[in-house]
């Protein structure tokens, strides 16, 4: 176990550092030589076929799947099934023992019944599991363009082999790891790989030893968001970078889910009880002078009576129903048991981008005329009046529209959508500005066409600005230079500032004003862009002037002195700040999480400022101190909130990490790497927390897998993260998690009720047998009738409890303590066996007494009668009234008693079911709104009637029609259950902590 962890850790470290790649270092010709390809001709079809044969398809092997047969076998032989198999085997043996020794074949069919029960429930559980795991459809992508035999053609990406020459265009998903041969303004979105949300520029230069950092490699699974390129494939399939993470993820083992632990715990208890009781009475029976065969038969009967055969199927159905309900609320559950895990979650490690935020940059604020104006696209109409009269705004808006390469996708359907939902092409920030401008001015495209672009310099991380030169449509002959970029960069190039329609000197005062605004905005976690423009003098730059910017290669020589136009002395226009805003209902969800006692940790790759700002906006951090203070809180155990930078995290040892998570309520992890995510999850788990992790990138996959429950994003999530997760949020909305938690908690409560209900019929099933053995009365309840209860009448009511609504606001109490609060507690068993079960058994024996007496056997006659009763040799057994009964006559009477006992259990279970609806509340408060439950009462009664009265069916199940008034005999006990339980709950509510509360509230 430990060694495995160590291996995992080592593996993970290997991820980032030990990639055996040198293709980015060697010359491109060496790469061609190595893979026997050429950029012009590509591979031949024959060679490609050979390589495909050798390396296999370019596809990730799906995660190691448990073979279907093993899963089926698990359902057939796991848990209770094994106990029942033993029972069936013993029955089978007993059947043959009886066959050769006695001619009384009492157990002739029971083993067949048992075996069928196990096989049917086994198949049922298997089917349910298979159904829920099939929901995961594969997300395939379409076509890839390769050069083969000197011609480019589209092929299925699975057919790509090493050495293929690939053509990648904007928007393509890169289908393999490639070394770039030629690139044109290529930017790739590596977010699924590294978590960086910024698109990264890629070209042909070798810039870094680290394959992830170097520019001349692009990786499988990432997206080309801008530009295009041609590259040679260097890795395919599982050997790709993502493939390695996927394999690593598959290697991470994790323990059982809490519900699985609970069910195992429960099965263990029941098994121990069944075996202990069984053996005890088996031994007792030997002392009482029974034969070995009889003792074995007793053992079997006790085991059959004790094992709740239908319970596992009930649990599966309950979970499935919840899964369906959650799917309707956009929570796709891949692993049924995960539902309950969500309910017992104590810590959520939430990814920021895409989960808490919309993953869509939006303009948040403007700064011009020395004012900060909040931007809100929807509310803009009212503000636009003010904006229209401002000269500065006009200049800033013009600059923002022109110095922007983003465009709306040009199809009428897209353009007819509301602006916010339109699809765009370009950088996220530019798109945000484009959308904002479109909302304010109405038609950016028209404005751009009136002010055509003469030339442009694209944004590059080395120069951190972009500029373009336009001829304007406002009858000004001068060309207009517009520039946008990082504020400090733009500031350097400006000499004047435009305020209130006047161009004034950008002096110290204004610089201070600018500084103030900039700090304010960046403290909000917003990305700030500065805008400037400049009218190029007509005399120097006449109308046909040839601007020269394309020839400049920034990567080689990133200095603007090379332009044939000035880029300094510009007029400063203002700032626009952008943010990826939190989703609308996240703050509410966070609040609910908190009141539900769940801690929320934000784990993000983003900058601490941005992370802290979002954390504040969503309520993850409630501390009003500045982020700098929060950053210093990491080692202060008294502080409630803190922000941790990835670099700080790196220096912490285990103990410090434990303290960090133990003592701080509100933590934001910024600039975290995938390994650190995994470390955070492990630390939480070490502290006994049940951790949920949300994530969308490939880099999140190990943490998702390691977490007790991994939650992936359905829209933005990568395949690998989806595969590693247990639950997929189809709408990427964090608020859906809250729904899930609520459902998870509810199902735990309801499963408890369901188990309490199911177990309550165990005593009335066991007691007849014990009386039969000890007091030697004719058997009051047979094995077939027990199976009729467990697998017939009890099933639907037990399931219907899954539909029961919560008793109180389950989101206002802390998550359950996995160590102390169990599904089946001693109190539940005491309550179910010792109280509800005993009352039921009392009812059963009363009805048994009545049926026997009304047919001639008064209670006094019954004691000690067993041996004669069961003997085929005695054909003249005398009853209390002197009548004599043949063997079959009294067996018919006995089976009638079984039927009556069975019916009694059903009728007393009516109110047991009503009692199980709530654990504290009075039934009158809980109400009868659960229609499924009401129907189930009708159903079980109808089923009992059918079993008792339908010809052939009753013969098959050894049941007999009952006299009408026998159906009313259980009613006193039915009422007793109700009255007792209402009293008990009243005591619990009225006297919390009293003996009743201590011993009976489960």
């Amino acid at each position: 176990m430990f060694r495995e962890k160590l291996k995992t850790r080592k593996h993970l470290e290997a991820l980032k550092h030990e990639i055996d790649l040198d293709e980015h270092k060697v010359s491109i010709n060496e790469v061609y030589r190595r893979y026997g390809t050429s950029p012009a001709m590509g591979l031949s079809d024959e060679r490609a076929a050979v390589l495909l044969e050798r390396d296999g398809p370019n596809d990730l092997t799906p995660m190691r799947k448990i073979p279907e047969i093993v899963r089926l076998a698990k359902n057939m032989f796991g848990g209770f099934a094994i106990l029942l198999w033993i029972g069936a085997f013993l029955c089978f043996t007993a059947h043959f023992l009886e066959f050769y020794t006695l001619d009384d074949l009492q157990y002739d069919n029971v083993w067949i019944a048992l075996a069928s029960v196990i096989i049917i429930t086994g198949f049922f559980s298997y089917y349910q599991q298979a159904k829920s795991s099939k929901i995961m459809e594969s997300f395939k992508y379409l076509q890839a363009c390769v050069v083969r035999h000197g011609r480019s053609r589209n092929i299925n990406p699975e057919k790509i082999v090493i050495g293929d020459i690939l053509e990648i265009r904007r928007g393509d998903r890169i289908p393999a790891d490639i070394r770039i041969i030629r690139a044109h303004g290529l930017k790739v979105d590596n977010s699924s790989l590294t978590g960086e949300s910024e698109p990264q520029a890629r070209g042909i230069e070798y810039t870094n030893d680290d394959p992830l950092e170097t520019r001349n490699l692009a990786f499988f699974g990432t997206f080309a968001v801008e530009g295009s390129c041609i590259g040679v494939v260097i890795r395919t399939g599982d050997k790709t970078f993502i493939g390695r993470i996927a394999n690593l993820t598959a290697g991470i083992e994790r323990g059982n889910t809490p519900i699985a632990i609970e069910i195992n715990h429960f099965i263990r208890i029941i098994t121990i009880i069944a075996i202990v009781v069984g053996l005890l009475f088996c031994i007792c029976s030997l002392f009482l002078g029974y034969t070995y065969i009889e003792a074995v038969v007793f053992l079997i009967s006790i085991i059959v009576a004790q094992v709740p055969e239908g319970l596992l199927a009930t649990v599966t159905v309950c979970l499935t129903l919840t899964a369906q309900r959650m799917a309707r609320k956009n929570c796709l559950v891949k692993n049924l048991e995960a539902i309950e895990t969500l309910g017992s979650t104590t810590v959520i490690c939430a990814d920021k981008t895409g989960t808490l935020t919309q993953n869509q940059m939006t303009v948040a604020h403007f700064w011009f005329d020395n004012h900060i104006i909040a931007s809100d696209i929807d509310a803009f109409q009212s503000q636009s009046n003010y904006l229209k009269f401002s000269h500065c705004w006009n200049a800033l808006g013009r600059c923002a529209m022109l110095c922007n390469t983003a465009i709306f996708k040009d199809d009428s359907l897209n353009l007819s959508k509301p602006i916010v939902h339109r699809q765009c092409e370009g950088d996220a920030s530019e798109i945000a500005i484009l959308k904002c401008m479109e909302a304010i001015t109405g038609n950016v495209a028209l404005f751009r066409s009136k002010n055509p672009k003469i030339c442009e310099v694209q944004f590059a991380s080395s120069n951190r600005y972009q500029l373009s030169i336009h001829s304007t449509g406002d009858h000004d002959e001068r060309y207009l230079l517009v520039m946008k970029g990082a504020p400090e960069k733009i500031l350097k190039n400006c000499s004047t500032i435009y305020v209130d329609g006047c161009e004034i000197e950008f002096n110290t005062y204004w610089k201070k004003q600018y500084e103030k605004a900039f700090n304010e905005l960046s403290n909000l976690g917003e990305r700030v862009l500065a805008f400037a423009d400049y009218r190029l003098p007509l005399n120097k730059y006449p109308r046909d002037y040839q601007f020269d910017c394309d020839t400049i290669n920034f990567h080689v020589n990133p200095y603007y002195e090379n332009f044939n136009f000035p880029t300094t002395g510009l007029r400063f226009l203002g700032l626009i700040s952008l943010i990826d805003p939190p989703r609308v209902n996240v703050a509410e969800a966070v609040r609910k999480c908190r009141s539900a006692g769940i801690r929320l940790l934000m784990v993000t790759g983003d900058h601490p400022l941005t992370a802290a700002a979002i954390a504040r906006a969503t309520g993850i951090i409630t501390d009003h101190n500045s982020t700098d203070v929060l950053l210093k809180n990491a080692y202060d155990n008294n502080a409630r909130s803190c922000v941790i930078h990835g670099n700080t995290l790196k220096t912490m040892n285990k103990q410090q990490l434990d303290n960090l998570i133990k003592y701080h309520q509100e933590i934001v992890f910024a600039r975290t790497s995938p390994q650190q995510k995994l470390i955070i999850v492990e630390t939480c788990q070490r502290l006994g927390e049940i951790v949920a992790v949300t994530g969308d990138g490939v880099n999140d996959a190990p943490a998702l897998k390691k977490a007790d429950i991994g939650i992936a994003m359905g829209i933005t999530g990568s395949d690998v993260s989806k595969q590693a997760s247990d639950i997929i949020l189809l709408d990427d909305n964090f608020a859906s998690i809250i729904t899930g938690i609520e459902e998870g908690r509810l199902i735990f409560d309801n499963l408890k009720k369901s188990i309490c209900y199911t177990l309550s019929s165990k005593i009335p099933e066991l007691a007849p047998f014990l009386f039969y053995m000890i007091f030697q009365i004719p058997l009051p309840l047979g094995t077939i009738a027990i199976l009729c209860i467990d697998l017939g009448t009890d099933m639907l009511p037990a399931i219907s409890l899954a539909y029961e609504r919560a008793e109180s606001d389950i989101m206002k109490r802390p998550p359950r303590d996995a160590k102390r609060e169990h599904l089946a507690t001693d109190r539940l068993i005491s309550m179910s066996y010792g109280q509800l079960g005993m009352i039921q058994a009392g009812g059963g024996f009363f009805v048994y007494t009545v049926v026997m007496a009304e047919n001639g056997f008064l209670p006094s006659r019954l004691f000690g009668l067993r041996k004669s009763w069961d003997s085929r040799s005695i054909n003249d057994l005398e009853d209390s009234y002197g009548q004599e009964w043949t063997y079959y006559q009294r067996k018919a009477l006995e089976d009638t008693c079984h039927t009556a006992f069975f019916v009694t259990v059903v009728i007393v279970q009516w109110t047991v079911l009503l009692c199980c609806k709530s654990r504290r509340n009075s039934l009158f408060r809980q109400g009868m709104a659960n229609q499924v439950l009401n129907m189930s009462i009708v159903f079980e009664t109808v089923l009992a009637i059918l079993i008792s009265y339908t010809p052939y069916i009753n013969r098959g199940l050894m049941m007999y029609p009952l006299k009408l008034h026998w159906w009313f005999l259980p009613l006193p006990f039915t009422l007793l259950v109700l009255i007792y339980d209402e009293w008990r709950k009243w005591m619990i509510r009225k006297f919390p902590g009293s003996i009743i509360d201590q011993e009976t509230s489960y």
Binding site: G834, V850, A853, N855, I874, Y881, G882, Y888
Partner: protein
């Protein structure tokens, strides 16, 4: 590990509870079960007050004796039956006492009821000429010709009609019964042909005399009317079946059955018959 779970010596907890909590639980359950037992007993007590004294609420066709369309038919009983499970009668030198005793006991109880006052008004059954089947003769057991008592089950209100059911005609003819017009017949055979061959010579001793083929029961003894004040006031009629010539040392399975116009015979359903095994050891 398991020992720890059972008894935690550090916290003095047995199965997770200390003695105080166990005590409280015991008190709680004491009252709970006391109450439940009281409730149960009250109901049973009330019910028992309502139970009829002389015959069960459901008898005859209304009782569970008649179910699923199977005709109501009395079974037969045999004596001596000294073991509840084993129906073997093993006649062995020096081992016959238990059978003789058992029969003796049975008849003692049977006739002892004559002393009850009410009995005088009801029917008294005796076999005037029991032949060898007397206590003095040790019911023929000593001489290797055992007398087996065969009786018909008492069923309240059931009146057998003389004759035989149509499907039994062939068997009835083969048995060669010639009963009185108002009597029903009992006939014993071996379970298999071989068994039958081993018990050729049988004497049936009925109230009406001795017969080689069949015993007979007069219909005047029927129907059984139940008890009076919970007292037995009725003698079920019986016959003696004496096996005069039994092949020794061979277990012989014997079936005795009854013939009447309204009694359905069914071997699998144990109707209208009784079975026992007979061995005479030298």
């Amino acid at each position: 590990m398991i020992a720890d779970a059972v008894y935690d010596s550090k916290r003095k907890e047995f199965l997770g509870r200390d003695s105080t909590r166990w005590g409280k639980l015991a008190i709680f359950y004491f009252f709970f079960y006391f109450g439940l037992a009281g409730f149960f007993s009250t109901l049973v007590f009330v019910f028992m007050r309502l139970v009829p004294l002389d015959r069960p609420r459901y008898h005859g066709d209304a009782s569970c004796m008649q179910a699923r369309g199977k005709p109501l038919a009395p079974g037969l009983g045999f004596r001596p039956q000294i073991d509840a499970v084993d129906n073997t009668i093993s006649v062995e030198k020096n081992q016959i006492d238990r059978y003789v005793k058992s029969l003796h006991q049975y008849l003692l109880v049977y006739y002892w009821k004559y002393d009850i006052d009410r009995f005088n008004q009801t029917k008294k059954f005796t076999i005037s000429d029991p032949g060898d089947c007397t206590p003095q003769n040790q019911y023929g057991f000593a001489s290797g010709k055992p007398c087996i008592l065969v009786k018909i089950n008492k069923i309240i209100g059931f009146e057998p009609k003389p004759g035989y059911m149509p499907e039994d005609e062939e068997a009835y003819q083969n048995a060669g019964c010639r009963p009185n017009p108002n009597a029903i017949s009992i006939h014993c055979t071996g379970e298999s042909a071989a068994d039958t061959a081993n018990i050729q010579n049988i004497t049936y001793i009925s109230e009406n005399g001795h017969d080689k083929n069949c015993g007979s029961l007069d219909t005047k003894w029927f129907p059984y009317q139940g008890k009076i004040d919970r007292q037995d006031v009725y003698q079920a009629p019986y016959i003696w079946v004496q096996f005069n010539d039994v092949k020794p040392n061979v277990p012989i399975k014997v079936i005795c059955r009854i013939y009447a116009e309204n009694i359905n015979y069914n071997k699998l359903g144990y109707r209208a018959l009784t079975q026992f095994e007979l061995i005479i050891k030298n």
